[in-house]
């Protein structure tokens, strides 16, 4: 009796489970598209708004996988993704030069900002970014580094190099995690860190950190969309990748990107790079 009840429950659960399996049907329709992108973009919430629109308009199903820019480019190199949205320009140029990518277009920009506790123990407020890093280095003030091979991590390392210091020591903490986690740790430890403005804005009111250094071309953060070269990996969904690229570069979507975040946070997360597909800076 009890046994028959549990058997019935098991059979029911099995039936429900099987119905959930794409494995029962062919697991992947022709219209699956793997988008490897950065954690900062996923955390901003922009993809949650854009991708359902794209899917509705195109009958493609997008699998957006959030990884660092370094890992996203690796996925592209190995043919494990169809299209990438990344922000690590030097690595992207290598990627394109090696023939892994087909097209690369500038999608949008925002900027990096140096954030820290409002008490600002190293007194970096209002300085240039290089002076600020010098002050942090010389004071041994706590600094949080992503150290995860992401675009932000690459940018931070470049800035230290350009400032002429090698960050090392008990004050320099490597989290190995995403931007949101690293910001939270910086907030808890009252340390400084480099962040993209979008992620910082999306956590407004939840962190004890202030923007202390901003502006200037050294802190520009550029996102590119890259389609993976189907010449190397015939399995990649190049038509889907190009459809997504065209969608992202379309005037409507570019305008939308320029508005995203304004209503909720009072400032846009990103600046669109073009007003139409024709005049997008192409490389």
């Amino acid at each position: 009796m009890k046994n028959s009840l549990s058997v019935a429950a098991a059979v029911w659960l099995m039936g429900q489970s099987l119905s959930a399996f794409p494995a029962a049907a062919p697991p992947v329709a022709a219209g699956d598209l793997i988008l490897a992108t950065t954690t900062s973009l996923k955390d901003s919430g922009l993809l949650d708004v854009l991708l359902p629109r794209f899917e509705a308009a195109s009958s493609l199903r997008v699998k957006a996988i959030a990884v660092g820019s370094g890992e996203a480019l690796r996925m592209g190199e190995q043919g494990n993704a169809d299209v990438l949205i990344v922000h690590s320009p030097a690595d992207e140029e290598k990627f394109m030069a090696a023939g892994f990518g087909k097209d690369r277009k500038e999608l949008m920009t925002n900027d990096f900002v140096l954030v820290g506790p409002s008490a600002d123990p190293a007194e970096v407020r209002g300085r240039t970014v290089f002076d600020a890093l010098r002050a942090i280095f010389e004071n041994g003030a706590i600094f949080l580094s992503r150290s995860d091979g992401s675009g932000t991590d690459k940018k931070e390392r470049d800035l230290w190099k350009l400032a002429g210091f090698e960050p090392k020591g008990r004050w320099y903490l490597e989290t190995g995690q995403g931007m949101a986690e690293t910001l939270r740790i910086a907030s808890e430890k009252e340390g400084y860190t480099l962040t993209d403005r979008g992620t910082f804005l999306s956590l407004t009111g939840r962190l004890g950190l202030r923007v202390l250094v901003e502006g200037g071309k050294d802190l520009l953060n550029v996102y590119h969309v890259i389609t993976v070269n189907p010449g190397r990996f015939p399995e990649t969904n190049i038509s889907g990748a190009e459809a997504l690229m065209n969608f992202l570069m379309s005037p409507d979507v570019q305008t939308f990107i320029g508005q995203f975040g304004r209503d909720k946070y009072g400032a846009a997360f990103f600046m669109p790079s073009s007003k139409g597909p024709g005049d997008g800076p192409e490389r």
Binding site: Q16, S17, P22, P27, G79, G178, A180, L203
Partner: protein, 239 residues
């Protein structure tokens, strides 16, 4: 403290108002972990039974491997399943990466050693005289195996609970092979990680409450079966 309190209140509001996103995520979690546990049962119990009654060279090595596997780190499972299922991996042509099926595969690998190890221990605890008596009364080999299975069914349920608990609570493997895709492969644990990252603590708390409630409900169900079984089983043991 304020954050925790308002978070819990908002979470309860979301649960009471039947927020569809939360329930979709919970339902997918039940389907994936339920499937993984059932497959784990079908593999783990026969494996435990086989190891308990047979003797062959290398048996101890296999048992040691299963016991090690009971503590298999989910991220390691996730990494290897992902390496195999990636499009350019050895099994890439199956196109399973970032699907619920890939998540079930990873969880099965986590669950099978837990169920096999615990059920082996359960079988080995069966009073050997029960088996001898069954054989003496003319039971065939198959019938004798059924006797062991019946005698050990209470600890077997504990094995199921442990397997289910291990699968529903892990995040490393399902994140790596599922990708936490909204509406496709997002389950309770990966959603909790993502919502926490995005600073939406009240949603993360709501999802945590659902996860705890789900785990509790399944264990209550199994415990009831187990304890009822224990009561009706006592009076007429094999004597």
């Amino acid at each position: 403290m304020d954050l925790i309190w308002t978070g819990i209140i908002k979470a309860v509001n979301m649960l009471v108002s039947l927020d569809p996103e939360i329930y979709d995520i919970a339902w997918l979690t039940v389907k994936i972990t339920g499937a993984a546990t059932l497959i784990g049962l079908c593999v783990g119990i026969p494996a435990g039974l086989g190891l308990s009654v047979s003797r062959f060279p290398g048996r101890r090595l296999i048992i040691a491997l299963i016991n090690t596997g009971m503590g298999l780190p989910p991220v390691v499972v996730g990494l290897f399943v992902a390496l195999f299922l990636w499009r350019m991996g050895p099994l890439g042509s199956l196109r399973l990466i970032y699907t619920p099926a890939a998540m079930v595969i990873a969880q099965v690998l986590i669950v099978v050693p837990i169920i096999a190890g615990l059920s082996l221990a359960a079988f080995q605890n069966v009073d050997p005289s029960a088996l001898l008596q069954a054989r003496a009364l003319g039971a065939s080999k198959t019938q004798a195996l059924l006797v062991i299975l019946k005698e050990s069914r209470l600890p077997q349920l504990a094995a199921v609970m442990a397997g289910f608990g291990g699968a529903i609570s892990e995040v490393g493997a399902v994140l790596m092979v599922g990708g936490d895709i909204n509406g496709q492969t997002r389950v309770l644990t990966t959603a909790i990680v993502q919502e926490t990252r995005m600073g939406r603590f009240e949603v993360a708390i709501a999802l945590s409450l659902v996860l705890l409630a789900l785990s509790f409900a399944v264990n209550i169900f199994l415990t009831c079966i187990q304890q009822k079984g224990a009561q009706e089983w006592r009076p007429h043991t094999w004597k």
